[in-house]
């Protein structure tokens, strides 16, 4: 059967048909797997939060979360409280970890809106951790993470992730050698907030200086590193008024 594929009417018809078929197919796929994907994302959030406070299955160099099958149990065991900080008001909310901080950040652009800040309290081996979610921009796309802080306001662990940083360069922010550098790092200079900068020329590859408010940058990932610095500065600062009350 020979079709004259050069005719305009055929071209328009083909294009219309293709758009309808492909659109329907993708919409169908997306909606039929939506529940499963949302569930996977929820589990991932729990794994990330636990990872930051040191509940994970890491060996020497790997990044291993607690397994999917037990993460729900571990989450209720280690995360003892979840708060939502809104201005001066602090309320407990068992689903605070489901707050979409991207939406909160967008809503906060309206000056009448007081941003809801989720905060998770973890307890492990008699130590208390305050885990703060952070989100910012890398080179290509979003970067985000969780920062676990102790009562002295010293970072005890972090987890970073990204949507599309360059494989082998910016994507290394979720590798151990980078994340482990944040352990023990200070972000407060007395009462002043300093943040933690991802710094080039830091000349401290073993990260011995814990109070210099900087960790070593990754070669070839300058913009991603700057994104991490900015993200920590911007989002950690939001929690400082509340965290200060803990220190007293």
């Amino acid at each position: 059967m020979a079709i004259n594929t050069d005719k305009n009417s055929y071209t328009v018809l083909f294009a219309t048909g293709m758009v309808i078929i492909v659109g329907a197919l993708l919409a169908f796929m997306a909606s039929s797997f939506k529940e499963k994907i949302t569930e996977n994302k929820r589990i991932e959030k729990q794994q990330n939060i636990l990872y930051a406070m040191g509940v994970n299955e890491n060996d020497e160099t790997s990044v291993e979360f607690v397994s999917k099958s037990i993460v729900g149990k571990e989450f209720t065991k280690y995360i003892v409280k979840q708060y939502v900080v809104t201005g001066n008001e602090v309320v407990e909310d068992a689903n605070a970890y489901l707050i979409d901080i991207k939406k909160e950040a967008a809503a906060a652009k309206d000056s009448n809106y007081t941003r809801r800040l989720p905060l998770f309290v973890g307890e492990k081996d008699n130590a208390t951790f305050y885990i703060v979610p952070v989100r910012g921009k890398g080179l290509w796309d979003a970067v985000w993470g969780y920062v676990a802080i102790d009562t002295q306001l010293v970072i005890q662990g972090v987890y970073f992730d990204h949507a599309g940083e360059t494989p082998g360069l910016g994507s290394n922010i979720k590798e151990r050698f980078f994340m482990d550098d944040f352990k023990g790092e200070h972000f407060m200079d007395g009462d002043t907030f300093k943040g933690v900068a991802v710094a080039k020329g830091n000349a401290d590859p073993k990260n011995n200086r814990k109070t210099d408010f900087a960790v070593d940058a990754i070669a070839g990932a300058t913009i991603t590193g700057d994104g991490i610095s900015a993200m920590l500065k911007k989002d950690l600062q939001l929690y400082v008024p509340y965290l200060k009350t803990l220190k007293q």
Binding site: H162, G164, P167, G168
Partner: protein, 214 residues
């Protein structure tokens, strides 16, 4: 290759050397430069392209008689984008961790010009079986170069292979670092990927002078 006729086997072996998509056809350079800073990323990308190109070539080949030539490029783009997104959704639902590893590659696969190049040059004019073999051959040829570039960039740039410190520890100064060796950070940047690729092209043409254009 008892399974394949001589002609079919050539579809797979040619792109590996004398008709390599990267070094001879000069397709897919962008991703070869962007993601070869370490070996693991090179391997993951090669496997992903193998899958998409193999399947995409078959789909395009099956549609070749009904695609209007005026909008064929857009149709090809839609086919490859749809395939990649479907795979991405399925992985997100059933193999979430794998999908996290692959998510950064999705955009790179859709815009990979090898895929469009093979659709345009081969699948539109040949049957599905031949197109499938052509897809496999070309993605293997692409993969070989990616792995070679990734190997040298990771070894010389970070002193590691697949994340394992093969040259010793640069911070503790063990292995070759004890003798004053330093990692070449320049290897991690895209310009050195281009130079590495240039050296591969040079070596290949020096060994087989028939490849040199006048």
């Amino acid at each position: 290759m008892g399974l394949l006729s001589k002609k079919d086997a050539k579809l797979i072996t040619d792109p590996l050397a004398d008709n390599n998509p990267i070094t001879i056809q000069v397709l897919g350079i962008c991703s070869a430069l962007a993601i070869t800073a370490d070996l693991k990323a090179s391997i993951v990308m090669s496997i992903a392209v193998l899958f998409v190109l193999g399947l995409g070539n078959v789909v395009i080949s099956l549609m070749r008689n009904i695609i209007p030539s005026k909008i064929r490029i857009i149709v090809q783009l839609i086919v490859v984008a749809t395939l990649v997104i479907i795979v991405d959704i399925i992985l997100k639902a059933f193999a979430y961790e794998l999908s996290k590893t692959l998510s950064v590659f999705v955009g790179l696969i859709i815009t990979n010009c090898i895929i469009m190049g093979r659709f345009e040059a081969f699948a539109l004019a040949n049957g599905p079986w031949k197109s499938f073999l052509d897809g496999i051959g070309n993605s293997l040829g692409y993969g070989v170069i990616l792995v070679i570039v990734g190997f040298f960039r990771e070894l010389l740039g970070s002193g590691t292979l697949l994340g394992i410190k093969v040259l010793g520890d640069p911070i503790e100064k063990t292995g070759v670092y004890a003798f004053g060796y330093e990692n070449n950070g320049f290897m991690l940047l895209a310009p050195m990927a281009l130079i590495t690729l240039g050296i591969i092209i040079w070596v290949q043409r020096a060994r087989n002078t028939s490849l040199i254009e006048n």
